[in-house]
Amino acid sequence: MDNFELICPAGTPAALRAAVDAGADAVYLGFRDETNARNFPGLNFTRQDVADAVAYAHARKVEIFVAINTYPQAGNLDPWRKAVDDAARLKVDAVILADLGLLEYAAKRHPDLRLHLSVQASAANVEAIRLYCDAFGVRRVVLPRVLTVPEIARLNAEIDIETEVFVFGGLCPMAEGRCSLSSYATGLSPNKQGVCSPASHVRYEPRGSALASTLGGFTINVFGEGEPAGYPTLCKGRFVARDTPAYLFEEPTSLNAMDLLPELKAAGVRALKIEGRQRGKAYIGAVVRAYREALDSFAAGRPVPRIDLQAMVEGGTQTTGAYTRAWR
């Protein structure tokens, strides 16, 4: 049986080199514009950066995937089509797409370009995945973080394309590709402009010894003195209901499925993805090294080592998320 592929994030050329050097099998990245879902200030790759990244990675037998995973807006298709054209021209190994129209454009215009279905497409059932496969020749689907391992196993038994799942990093399981919470608070969309909780709308304010985070003018959390903090996303906000402050949607916590490698392998998963294109190269290096070590041990039939990644996780807590659905 083939080993897992380790798919790693990069938001900058330095992070890309860190990922490659730490043992990635493939690195995913985005152009520096609204065509990818991590459109943050100072982040992402120019066309020349991508050309350099391809050269650096291919020389080390590592693949480059380009995420073009936001949804084109009516009357303004050019940036998305150009992104697909440029990715093909720059000879990347795959593009990660979510939009139906863009998938059709890529399949027709660049028949040799490998297509992966983004998690933003939220394809979580056999019929949807077969449609993407039959209509556009999609070769891999990145599954949304809402499925249990047994559900992934049942899905894999019925489809004949590769699946990729997230194993580490931020959780976004409520409605990937369909979330409008941040749009409600800021007027800017994660799915159209690539900005979930855009930094331009985020403020941190000291309140005595506490720290308040606000998004679009709404206070979404107050962290007590010394309490671990989380990202300023509305889905991880803490709100007062019936006089009790609580995380109503999600908690600030990070996914870590390292303990589930045997189950994910038995479920037929092909590739494991680390989240965090917005994170620094120190995070990339540490997490990719840890997962490389774990995957190599697993592939060699040795016990998976317990590697401490606690320092890297949001809110100071880790979870296996929906894979084990421990809350049920």
Partner: protein
């Protein structure tokens, strides 16, 4: 040969890094004592040096909108005001007394980033993840979050060795740094081993002297008020 009875609790690389950090903190403490004109000129030269070594990042910093970021090491006698945009500049501000949060002239900053000096230095050189520091509350930010994010992402996109870059300002002495770095860890291990053999009163005296030299005791070190 290393004394088998003395096992360092920190490895040689960590010790060398601490030494570097302490040394750069002392250097930073000296900057405002040179007077505003000289310190501004020195920092401008440092920026030029960094720009020559990291053109991609510095082009990006100059392309940003004109704004000021206050970089405030909470355990250092000095803060830095960085102006990004076409008029990129760096200005040192003395913090007196050490530990005070408010700085004269703070009002003109669009954003503030605060944390322990060693952490900020690690962050600048990409040795540590900024989000992880933020989650642990070791780093705090205020003001324009987008500005801080842009600055962080731009600098993290570089492979920066600030000590080597700053040392190159010292002309012929710059060549000494790699040798110092190679030897600092083992030498410091030996000093630590010797320190453990000292009687307790002398050990406490040495610790006090070190604290004064690194400028962490108000009114005593090179970075404190003159």
């Amino acid at each position: 040969m290393r004394d088998p009875d003395v096992t360092p609790t920190v490895n040689a690389d960590d010790r060398a890094r601490r030494f570097e950090t302490g040394l750069s903190l002392v250097g930073l403490g000296l900057v405002p004592r040179l007077g505003e004109r000289v310190s501004d000129a020195l920092l401008a030269r440092l920026l030029r040096q960094l720009a020559a070594r990291h053109p991609r990042a510095f082009d990006a910093l100059r392309e940003m909108q004109d704004a000021r970021v206050l970089i405030e090491p909470v355990d250092a006698p000095v803060a830095l005001m960085m102006r990004v945009g076409p008029n990129l500049s760096l200005h040192a501000l003395r913090r007196e007394p050490i530990g005070a949060c408010a700085l004269a002239g703070l009002g003109e900053a669009d954003a503030v980033i605060r944390g322990p000096y060693a952490r900020l230095l690690d962050l600048l050189e990409g040795r540590i993840d900024g989000d992880a520091l933020f989650f642990r509350r070791e780093l705090s930010i205020a003001g324009d979050t987008a500005l801080i994010l842009a600055l962080r992402n731009t600098l993290d996109g570089e492979e920066m060795d600030l000590m080597a870059d700053a040392a190159s300002l010292a002309g012929p002495l710059a060549g000494v740094l790699p040798v110092l770095r190679r030897n600092a860890g083992p030498v410091l291990d030996r000093i630590e081993a010797a320190r453990r053999l000292l009687p307790p009163p002398l050990r406490r005296g040495a610790a006090r002297l070190e604290a004064r030299l690194s400028g962490l005791v108000p009114g005593a070190g090179p970075g404190a008020a003159s």
